[in-house]
Each structure stands twice: as C-alpha cells, then as structure tokens.
C-alpha cells in the first residue's frame, strides 16, 4: 500500500567511489535505482514504486562540482544541486537559459536537494534543465564497466522517460560547450502555481553576429513525449536578421512541430495556442542581453 509516511523497503548501497558505483550497477543493472538528491526517487517510492536496490551517491566525494573554463565550457557533476548551479555567477553570465531553469525549478528546498544531472536522467518531457540544456547543447558523460562515453544531449532522450543510459552505466556529469561572444540564451516556463511542473516551457540559444542570427537552437518541453528541438523553426532563423516578420513566421511554425496532449496541467489546444508566442518571447529575451 503506497504511503508517504512509510517508504517501501529496499537494500541501500553506499559506494565510496565512482568505480565502486559502476561495479554495483554492473551487478544489479535494472534492479537498482541511482539516488543523487532523491527528490524524484523518494516521491516515486511514496507512490509505491520500489526498486530492490538503491545506490546512493551520498558517500562519493567531489561529485558536486560546477566548474567553468572559458576554453572548455561548463562541467556539472552528478551531485551538483540545482541551487549550486543557479548560484554560480558563471552560469548566470554565460548560460542564462540553464541559470533560469535551475533557479525556478521546484521550490527553494528541492533546489537544494535535486540535481541537474538527475533532472536529465529523469527525462521528464517537462524538465526545465532538460529543455535549457537541449537548447544550449552539450553532452552527458556516462561511465560503465568498459569505460567512459559521451552522449550528445541531442541523442540522449530516446522516448518517454527513457534515456541513452544503459543499465550498467552511471551518469557522472553533464558538459556544456564553451560560449563564444555572439552566443545568447534564454528560458521561460508557463505553469499553474509557483512550484508546478511546466505546462509548457521553451529555451533558445542563438549565435548572433550583431543583429543577425547565424544559427539558432530552439527546445520545448511538455509538448511531446520527450523534450524536443524545433528544427523547422530553427531553420527560419539561419543567417537572418531578427525582425518582427521573422519572429511572426517562427511563431506560426512552432505549433506545427509539436504534438501536445491534454493532461492535468493543460490541454493540447492551449499548448498549441501559446507555443508560438512563448518561443517568440524567449527569442526576444535572449536577444535583449545583446
């Protein structure tokens, strides 16, 4: 009987190193759930979902880094909390879409516990950091028994709540590319109440040369089974100055690229109606910094 007072029982494993965690995953694979902040896993447990094994990363040192270098970009460790990412001045300055996503997701308390990497692994279509990172670009670093591999964020979300991580792999960090001068980004989220999941969210990352957009990446969440990029709308922004006409065309194209559904937070009709306007506003916000 699922209960929010008493969690189901499980075996807790507390590896003290990444390699120990990987060997545990190789041993237990799908029978084990990895726990970083716990904000997703424990909620699932209150609903009765109980893995046999929980591999907690709490005893592995130095996994909570948020490190930025001008040449190498941003690296966020698996245990780095959303609030740590949101408080990092380099994130706010160079990756504003991710900064905003990390700063408004959930509540202040869950932001002190939940992690960016955990949000990517949860792969909810409405994930705020998922949407922001999909727009900015980057890759997830996975470590398995055979070693490390990197999966581009474009190839990371496979289908509803399924990622490219194999059962014997541990996601150890997410990497975002270095930001050149013309790059700007923004993220916006529409929701019912303050701590709600997005009913629809959008992020853009633009490579600008003066008033001309050389290239754009547009990501949206809660409008498809996975966070998606809007390739047709992106194509409209290739090597063009950003004018009202172009923005109007983008706003008209966006609804044709999404497949929203009715759910508790909104309806397909509403999501379709607002999607174009939301993307237009996010593009305007991204450009406003320049």
């Amino acid at each position: 009987m699922p209960s929010s007072r008493i969690l189901p029982e499980f075996e807790l494993l507390l590896p003290e190193s990444i390699s120990e965690a990987v060997s545990l995953l190789a041993k237990y694979k799908d029978k084990a759930a990895v726990m970083a902040g716990g904000t997703d896993l424990i909620v699932s447990m209150t609903k009765g979902i109980a893995p046999d094994y929980v591999i907690s990363l709490a005893e592995i040192p130095d996994l909570d880094y948020v490190s930025y270098s001008k040449t190498k970009g941003l690296r966020i460790g698996a245990m780095a909390a959303l609030s740590k990412v949101a408080d990092a001045p380099e994130v706010k300055e160079h990756y504003p879409a991710l900064w905003k996503a990390a700063a408004i997701n959930g509540t202040p308390q869950t932001r002190n516990m939940g992690t960016v990497v955990g949000n990517l692994l949860r792969a909810s279509p409405s994930g705020d950091p998922c949407c922001a990172i999909l727009a900015i670009g980057g890759s997830v670093v996975l470590e398995g028994p055979k070693g490390k591999r990197e999966v581009s964020i474009d190839d990371f979300f496979l289908k509803y709540r399924v990622t490219a991580r194999k059962p014997d792999e541990l996601a150890i960090e997410v990497k975002l590319p270095p930001i050149s001068n013309g790059i700007c980004s923004a993220f916006q989220k529409m929701k019912r109440v303050t701590l709600d999941l997005a009913k629809v969210n959008a992020a853009v990352c633009l490579d600008m040369s003066g008033k001309t957009c050389k290239e754009a990446r547009i990501a949206m969440g809660a409008v498809a089974p996975i966070p998606i990029r809007l390739k047709k709308s992106e194509a409209l922004l290739k090597n063009v100055p950003i004018t009202d006409t172009i923005l109007k065309k983008v706003a008209e194209t966006v609804p044709t690229e999404i497949s929203p559904i009715d759910d508790v937070r909104s309806t397909a009709e509403y999501r379709r109606e607002v999607s174009g306007v939301l993307v237009k506003r996010v593009i305007e916000e991204a450009c406003s910094g320049k």
Binding site: E11, L12, V43
Partner: protein
C-alpha cells in the same frame, strides 16, 4: 544493507543511531528521537512543513564531550532541505538544525521573536518550517526585499495566514538581526 549505524547532530547534540535504510530523516527525528518540533505535512516534498536546516559541509567534531557528544558546528552555510525527502541513512555526520535549536539560553532567535511580534502564527503547523526557512533566507541575504522573501518562501505552504504577516515577520527579523549586529 537494510540498517545503517549513523551519527546525527541535531541542534548540537550527537545521536548514535541504527536506522532502517528506508526511514526518512523526518521519521527518524520524530519517531525514533521523539523530536516532534519537526512536523509531517504532505510527505511528498510539496508543502515545506518538514523543512530543516543542514550544514553544507560535513563538520568533523573533535571537540565533543565524551559523555554528551555535544558538538557545535562552526558557522557554515546552512541550507533548507526537506526531511521527508531525505533518507536518514545518507545523513551520517551531518549537522541539522530544527526550530527547537534556534533559541539560545532561553532567548528567542530574532526570527522566532519577529513571528511572535507580528502575529504570524495562527494554527502553528507550518511555523517550524517557516521560521527555519526565514533563518535560511536571512543568513544568506540579510536585507531581502518583499519580492525576494516571497520567492524564497515559495516552498512553504500556509493555510491560515495568507502569508502577509509571515512576510512582515521576516522583514522585522531582518531589522532585529541588523540592530543586534550593531551592538
């Protein structure tokens, strides 16, 4: 493992415990240690009633009295977390502050004092979490604006007050703490 031997420091007091791994920090604090000033609200991470403060780093306690195991954590960065969403077994060695640990030598913490003065307590159920969150706000930002306070209180739900007096209490506490520093 199904049980883990851990040490928790709660309001300076060290507790050696053997906790079932599936017990939340909230369960251990309330049911095992009988420290019922931390309340159970929703159990799902949405209401903030079970908010406690945790020191950002694990502080190794060398100055413990062998008999009482009392360890005062050095001023670190205390952050607000939810006890219902935390497994007690993962909190070994952590320093936790609950609302009962805020008063010093019989004197109320300025945030507690302000909540009383402003009449920000009605049924009192959200109050432990609200007060601790107020402390967390002011330790990070001693002079917050009303908007900043309201944003930071988003994770604490109150069904009685409509939040107005709670916000005023945090503002009042900010003044009280500023005047204390001047002394």
């Amino acid at each position: 493992m199904k049980k883990r031997a851990i040490t928790l420091y709660i309001n300076g007091e060290g507790y050696d415990l053997n906790v079932p791994v599936h017990h939340t920090l909230l369960q251990v604090i309330r049911d095992q240690l009988n420290l019922t000033d931390v309340k159970y609200g929703c159990g799902r991470g949405e209401c903030g009633t079970c908010t406690v403060l945790v020191d950002d780093e694990r502080i190794s306690c060398t100055d413990t009295d062998a008999t009482t195991k009392y360890c005062v954590s050095k001023p670190g960065k205390r952050k607000a977390i939810l006890a219902c969403m935390t497994l007690a077994a993962t909190m070994d060695g952590k320093h936790i502050t609950t609302v009962a640990g805020l008063n010093k030598d019989g004197e109320l913490h300025p945030v507690q004092q302000a909540f009383v003065e402003e009449g920000a307590i009605q049924c009192g159920f959200c109050t432990p979490g609200m007060v601790l969150k107020g402390v967390a706000i002011l330790e990070k930002n001693p002079k917050p604006t009303e908007t900043e306070i309201r944003n930071e209180l988003e994770g604490n739900i109150c069904r009685c007050t409509g939040y107005v007096k709670v916000v005023k209490a945090v503002e009042r506490a900010s003044e009280l703490m500023a005047s204390k520093r001047k002394r």
